[in-house]
């Protein structure tokens, strides 16, 4: 525990440009308070208890662009219907603006509430390079260092590969996404990829703790250390160091191009995978495609003090926006992950079971799964199943 806080303070020393300058008093108290509670949630090790006012939680909601707003409206509908004790504080972010005031508001709101549910914010890359990707800014300001995605084959979905069950843990703040670029000579652009020992140790530690908690047997580190000997070499070394502390878990490593080749031929061999940022992007999208597409998999971004939930592949879905054909499964499952995080386990299982039961009725697949259903039909079916299970008495 002491080593964790040492690592924490070191990383804060080394990264003063991170948004943590404002400081957060609950973070300091949180580490001492939570040690007294029996937190079975891995993410709850250092995260302060979620705020509860009058028995209800407040969660920041960022609708984003594309299909985000309509899917999050459906989430709110389902929550209202199931009497979930969660209030949403909606913060809009306009992706067309060049100023950062929208994002600052959103980040402050998440700091206040501790938990957020968001849609993807579009990045117009016609704007000048000084305007960074807003999703990225959110992740780095809140230091959401771990992106966790659980890919599981669903029985009601037809895919080429069966029996996939992979947890992907992706470093979320550094690597190729450091957004440090410059044009030293006209026509020559340099982009920096940063790998630090602290962040690599942190993510490796997270991965192994999660594997242990979920009873997983094997952790695979994905890298390209044969080419990027120092950068990915450091990442791999950190993973090996952490692995030595978990003797019951097998640790191996695989080069990223071989990994993608294995994923399309034999994805059943993988268990838990940990990797830096860009490879995480590739591997998580490949895995999402393998289990049925971007509409099915939820994702979570965990930091020391905050948690943000969204769909795993972070698509804006501009081409299918407002057409009532988007698949609400990913966003609803993400909201269930959020409910688990808020320790409202009963509500989470209720909604999750309803979503999965609807998935197995093949008639009610949306277009991305080859069906004819609309988003509203799927949501109606989910609510019908929830109603048939009987209303839950909310916990006081």
């Amino acid at each position: 525990m002491a080593s964790h806080s040492a690592v924490l303070s070191m990383s804060r020393l080394l990264s003063p440009f991170r948004g943590g300058l404002l400081g957060n008093p609950t973070k300091v108290f949180g580490t001492t308070l939570t040690s007294h509670r029996n937190k079975t949630l891995l993410t709850g090790d250092n995260i302060p208890p979620p705020a509860k006012y009058g028995g209800r939680h407040t969660v920041t909601l960022i609708p984003g662009d594309g299909i985000g707003p309509e899917l999050l409206n459906h989430v709110r509908e389902v929550f209202r219907f199931s009497c979930v004790p969660v209030d949403f504080e909606v913060v809009h972010v306009n992706s067309a603006l060049e100023t950062d005031s929208d994002m600052d508001n959103a980040i402050t709101a998440i700091r206040r509430n501790g938990v957020a549910l968001k849609g993807n914010i579009e990045t117009k890359h016609t704007l000048p390079p000084s305007v960074k990707s807003r999703n990225n800014v959110l992740r780095t300001s809140l230091d959401l260092y771990a992106n966790v995605m659980h890919c599981q084959s669903l029985p009601g979905v037809q895919t080429r590969h069966k029996n996939i069950d992979i947890i992907i843990i992706r470093e979320n703040t550094e690597g190729e996404y450091s957004s440090l670029e410059h044009e030293s000579v006209s026509g020559v652009v340099e982009c920096l990829k940063i790998i630090t020992r602290n962040n690599s140790l942190r993510i490796a530690d997270y991965a192994f703790r999660l594997a242990r908690e979920k009873g997983r047997r094997r952790v695979t580190a994905v890298h390209k250390a044969n080419i990027m000997k120092l950068g990915d070499g450091l990442f791999l070394q950190c993973c090996r160091e952490v692995a030595s502390g978990y003797p019951e878990i097998t640790f191996d490593s695989m080069i990223v191009d071989n990994t993608t080749m294995q994923l399309v031929s034999k994805p059943q061999q993988f268990d838990v995978m940990v990797m830096p940022n860009l490879y995480g992007n590739v591997v998580s999208n490949v895995c999402a495609g393998l289990v049925g597409g971007p509409g099915l998999v939820p994702g979570a971004n965990y930091g020391q003090a905050y948690a943000v939930f969204e769909t795993a592949t972070r698509n804006t879905g501009k081409s299918i926006a407002d057409k009532n054909i988007a698949n609400p499964t990913a966003m609803l499952l993400a909201s269930c992950m959020m409910l688990d995080h808020l320790q409202l386990y009963d509500y989470a299982s209720l909604i999750r079971n309803a979503v999965l039961t609807t998935m197995n009725e093949t008639r009610l697949h949306t277009a991305d799964l080859g069906g004819q259903g609309t988003t509203s039909e799927v949501v109606q079916s989910i609510m019908r199943i929830i109603q048939s299970k009987g209303q839950l008495i909310s916990e006081f």
Partner: protein, 369 residues
């Protein structure tokens, strides 16, 4: 009557003269020289298989075998043997088997050396589903064109402070323009309909933005080919769900590495995937991308398909399309027939049996003459 008879005779004579002049120009061009680098491990046996099949197909190619082991040149820099370099510069076409990189040998990998020596800037990998070799993905027909000299593989890394490492990804205007031009020309020459640029410009705004800008500029000159751009993650997502929507993909080094191996996995792995490297000055080296497989070297168990398909790619590059089609058909028919398959394809035939079967089919296709 006499006039038309005279005219038809004249046209026949002209046709005969034209045909004979073409034939004589072929015989003048005669045997084209190709530098053959057998490689290590199973390299020599699969190269022998390819030579045998080419003989059976009567391909007008003269092989010059050369060895590439790194030697220290003047000035202490590692380089390939000068006779190999001279042969390649003369013939401009090369066929290479797998090369092993000994660990801790002190010199960079052989593939890297070759790349630097001949400025091989484009790596082309056509991925076409093989009918006889079933994978979960059917009807794959795409080509990945990868920039091979810069990008994330520039090899520039520093330790800034202890525990913080920085790797530099380099994107230059010149290299991006060159690879984009090659991609569009390849699409045009091979009757492809569209070129898709793969990038991550939402995150790496300046570097991938530059690459994308150059692709757009080059696309202006090739209006007959459709140009689209797609994010790397979207490509990965769609590739594993429906690979038929992609045609030609062009991208910087790292994405190309990952995507080309992903596509190779779709059609059955590196044992059946051809690959070609195009360099400046018209040099082209075609290679098999699998490893040296030292455990089965010399045991006549190797699968020569990858090297054979790369050789077919080479024939197309040289313009010898009829021979290329013949050999490719024979190879695919053999695999589809399933009677003579090497171990990695699921059978238990020897490499020599597989080769002989392909030779037999080639001769049959030829009509026996």
């Amino acid at each position: 009557m006499a006039g038309s008879l005279w005219r038809s005779t004249l046209s026949q004579v002209v046709g005969w003269v034209r045909r004979s002049s073409i034939q004589s120009s072929v015989s003048r061009r005669g045997m084209q020289t190709v530098t053959l680098i057998p490689g290590d491990g199973i390299g020599p046996e699969i190269s022998a298989a390819v030579i045998k099949i080419f003989e059976a197909a009567k391909v007008p190619v003269k092989w010059e075998e050369r060895n590439v082991t790194a030697i220290k040149g003047p000035g202490g820099r590692w380089m390939i043997p000068p006779d190999a370099k001279e042969s390649m510069d003369r013939s401009k076409i090369g066929l290479k088997g797998p090369l092993k990189t000994p660990i801790a040998a002190g010199h960079p990998s052989m593939n890297l050396l070759l790349r630097k020596t001949f400025d091989l800037y484009a790596n082309v990998r056509p991925c076409i589903s093989i009918e006889g070799y079933k994978t979960p993905y059917t009807d794959v027909d795409l080509v990945t064109i990868r920039e091979n000299t810069e990008g994330e593989y520039s090899g520039i890394e520093h330790v800034i402070v202890d525990g913080v490492v920085q790797s530099i990804k380099l994107i230059t205007e010149k290299a991006s323009k060159r690879i984009a031009e090659y991609a569009f020309e390849y699409a045009r020459n091979n009757q492809r309909n569209s070129v898709t640029a793969v990038h991550k410009a939402n995150i790496m705004r300046m570097s991938d933005g530059l690459f994308l800008r150059k692709c757009r500029e080059v696309a202006e000159n090739f209006k007959d080919i459709k140009f689209t751009e797609m994010y790397l993650d979207t490509v990965c997502l769609n590739m594993v769900q429906d690979p038929t929507q992609f045609d030609v993909l062009v991208m910087p080094n790292l994405y190309g590495d990952i995507l080309s191996d992903l596509c190779a996995g779709l059609i059955g792995g590196l044992g059946v995937t051809p690959s070609g490297n195009i360099g400046a000055n018209g040099v082209a080296i075609f290679e098999s991308v699998h490893g040296t497989a030292p455990d089965i070297a010399g045991l006549d168990l190797a699968n020569p398909t990858a090297l054979l398909l790369s050789a077919v790619m080479m024939l197309r590059h040289m313009g010898l399309h009829p021979h290329a089609d013949k050999i490719q058909t024979a190879c695919f028919d053999t695999i589809r027939d399933k009677k003579f398959l090497t171990k990695d394809l699921g059978g238990n035939a020897k490499c020599s049996e597989f080769t002989s079967e392909i030779c037999r089919r080639v001769q049959d296709l030829d009509g026996g003459h």
